[in-house]
């Protein structure tokens, strides 16, 4: 997914001399081609994320589009106050590319998990927040980010994400994509959880429960309408995300539901407790109830209540 994104940048940078790319010394081999073709517009800032964000602000104040790359906790949390003041407050054309959403860097441990980023970033003014679910969406958001004036956070996994869309879908910023339609329950999913959601929907279908699956690729601006619409049609709703249940997708949905008098059952599924687990991505997801099997068990159990 990140390779798709960077390839799109390389293609566009040939004609658009305003594109600058900064990294805080991460992305081994990822930027070799960009660097060799556009060496004057690529900077390895060094291991200094706060400095990278400030530099990006300065570059964009000269009318350029700046992409900043790092692993999520370093990019978003280490430099959060620089993002808040220099980028969001001043509404600058800086795009933050965070890699390692959720447990992408499983065995690297807690320091490398990207599980609180959405909670922080969605509170900032002027910030557009997107979470592509597959390489098709990643490519779409890369193109979109070039045209969009203003700050943006693009939350990526790393590599090897399966393709969800057969054809290129009609993606619109701030408008959720309905992937499957069913009448018994609704599932909101985001990023890596969309593909898992598809598998769960099939499993539930075999047990006689027909689910609607909604891909919430944009967290900011939030699609309030789809949540209200779903609330009026369903009595049971789930959200699944590879992020803390505090402050991310589930929280955003529950805010809308609570304020609109939803009377049914809503369940946030995401990361709530870590309990010092050690494991690779799949193992961590399994331990936190986010593997296909665990997700299915949880939802099926709720449906039978």
């Amino acid at each position: 997914m990140r390779k798709t994104f960077v390839n799109s940048l390389i293609q566009n940078s040939r004609d658009n001399k305003n594109i600058y790319l900064l990294t805080a010394d991460l992305g081994f081999k990822l930027f070799d081609e960009f660097r060799s073709r556009y060496s004057d517009r690529f900077f390895n800032i060094g291991i200094s994320e706060a400095n990278m964000i400030g530099i990006a602000a300065g570059i964009s104040l000269s009318g350029k589009i700046v992409y900043c790359y790092s692993i999520i906790p370093f990019l978003i949390m280490r430099a959060f106050e620089q993002i808040r003041v220099d980028i969001a407050y001043q509404n600058l054309n800086v795009k933050l590319i965070g890699v390692g959403g959720g447990f992408t860097y499983g065995l690297e441990g807690f320091t490398h998990f990207g599980i609180e980023d959405l909670c922080l970033i969605r509170t900032l003014p002027n910030m557009t927040v997107v979470v592509p679910a597959d390489p098709v969406e990643s490519n779409f958001f890369a193109q979109f980010s070039l045209k969009h004036e203003g700050p943006m956070y693009i939350r990526l996994g790393k590599s090897g994400e399966p393709r969800i869309h057969e054809k290129i879908p009609d993606i619109r910023i701030g408008k959720a994509l309905i992937i499957k339609e069913g009448k018994d329950l609704a599932i909101f999913a985001m990023g890596s959880m969309v593909y898992k959601g598809l598998q769960i929907v099939d499993m539930l279908s075999s047990k006689g429960f027909e689910a609607t699956l909604i891909n919430m690729h944009t967290l900011q601006p939030f699609d309030f309408d789809i949540v209200k619409q779903v609330a009026s049609q369903f009595d049971i709703i789930f959200s699944i995300e590879e992020h803390s249940i505090y402050g991310g997708l589930g929280s955003s949905i529950s805010e809308v539901l609570a304020e609109n008098g939803f009377n049914g059952r809503f369940s946030r599924i995401g990361i709530s407790m870590l309990n010092d687990y050690i494991g690779d991505t799949e193992q961590m997801l399994h331990r936190c109830g986010l593997s296909v099997k665990e997700l299915y068990n949880k939802i099926y159990f709720e449906m039978r209540k």
Binding site: S48, G58, I59, L61, S62, D86
Partner: protein
């Protein structure tokens, strides 16, 4: 205040040719008419007069709005005047010019001094100054980006400005655009780690279009810098990071103007200003209290009397 297009200092180029070139390239070199004409001695006399007016304006802004930070505003008056009336290529009538020099007040809390000097230079009206730090006013206690008022960057959180100047410097280099970036830091601000990230980066990349100026008034919010985090040897530190360093009296126009005319062309430049916090009012000078305190009525008139003497 009239602005004049003229060749940069030290240029042997014919003025007419320079203007022609500036028009073709879409940018100009701007000077204040009265100052460009006068010789150094006369310019300095005018600037000294102006520094009194600016301090009175700061005192009024702070007294009327009951704002803090009079001490750190008074310590940067001379450098701001020298930048806006002598060194920088800027004009309120061409504030969008891509070749303009940039100024960043990284110690944003001292913005009353910046607003007062911007008003002198014609960037903001005196009416706007009256709307400083009041409800539904126009100017905050930390500057908000507004190019038409000559404010390039929003600041107020310390340790941000130098990185931003580095970003501007990189685009100047890539685009072969010869503007300079003047950035004014507080000495206490140098406690921030991000400043040193930017110092390292600018030194490594030899960003000679950056002129970082440190207001070394030796005090920060809760005490003397030497007691909180001793910065010494400060000049040596910048030198070690591949910067060209000058250390001068920050209240002496002649020294300031000379320093701004003696910049290195192959390294980033640092000018350390030895200054006095609260400069200009005897009972505020070197008194920590005046970092935050706003003068009461008695103190206001006493200060006014000293400044207008």
């Amino acid at each position: 205040m009239k602005d004049l297009w003229c060749p940069p200092k030290g240029s042997s180029e014919d003025a007419g040719l320079f203007i022609l070139r500036a028009v073709i390239s879409g940018g100009g070199y701007y000077k204040v008419l009265e100052y460009a004409a006068a010789d150094l001695r006369d310019r300095i006399i005018q600037m000294e007069e102006m520094s009194k007016r600016v301090r009175v304006s700061i005192l009024n802004m702070i007294y009327q709005s009951k704002s803090p930070h009079i001490g750190p505003s008074f310590s940067i008056v001379e450098i701001l005047i020298a930048l806006y009336f002598d060194a920088m290529n800027i004009s309120p009538h061409h504030y969008w010019d891509s070749q303009r020099d940039r100024f960043i007040l990284s110690k944003g809390h001292a913005c009353p001094a910046l607003y007062a000097v911007l008003a002198e230079r014609g960037f903001i009206d005196s009416d706007v100054i009256k709307k400083f730090a009041i409800n539904d006013g126009l100017l905050e206690q930390h500057p908000k980006r507004d190019l038409s008022r000559g404010i390039e960057v929003s600041t107020g959180s310390l340790g941000h400005g130098l990185s931003i100047s580095v970003g501007m410097a990189l685009t100047g280099r890539v685009d072969c655009n010869p503007f300079n970036i003047y950035i004014l830091l507080g000495d206490g601000e140098l406690n921030e780690g991000s400043v040193w990230e930017a110092i390292m980066f600018a030194g490594h990349h030899c960003l000679n279009n950056i002129i970082a100026i440190v207001d070394y008034n030796k005090m920060q919010a809760l005490g003397f810098t030497k007691d909180i985090i001793d910065l010494e040897p400060l000049a040596e530190k910048w030198k070690c990071f591949n910067w060209s360093v000058q250390q001068i009296n920050g209240h002496n126009f002649e020294e300031i103007i000379n320093a701004l005319n003696s910049l290195s062309s192959d390294k980033p430049n640092c000018i350390i200003l030895d200054t006095v916090k609260g400069k200009g009012v005897s009972f505020m000078e070197n008194e920590l209290l005046w970092h935050y305190r706003c003068p009461d009525e008695g103190e206001y008139y006493k200060a006014l009397q000293e400044l207008e003497a």
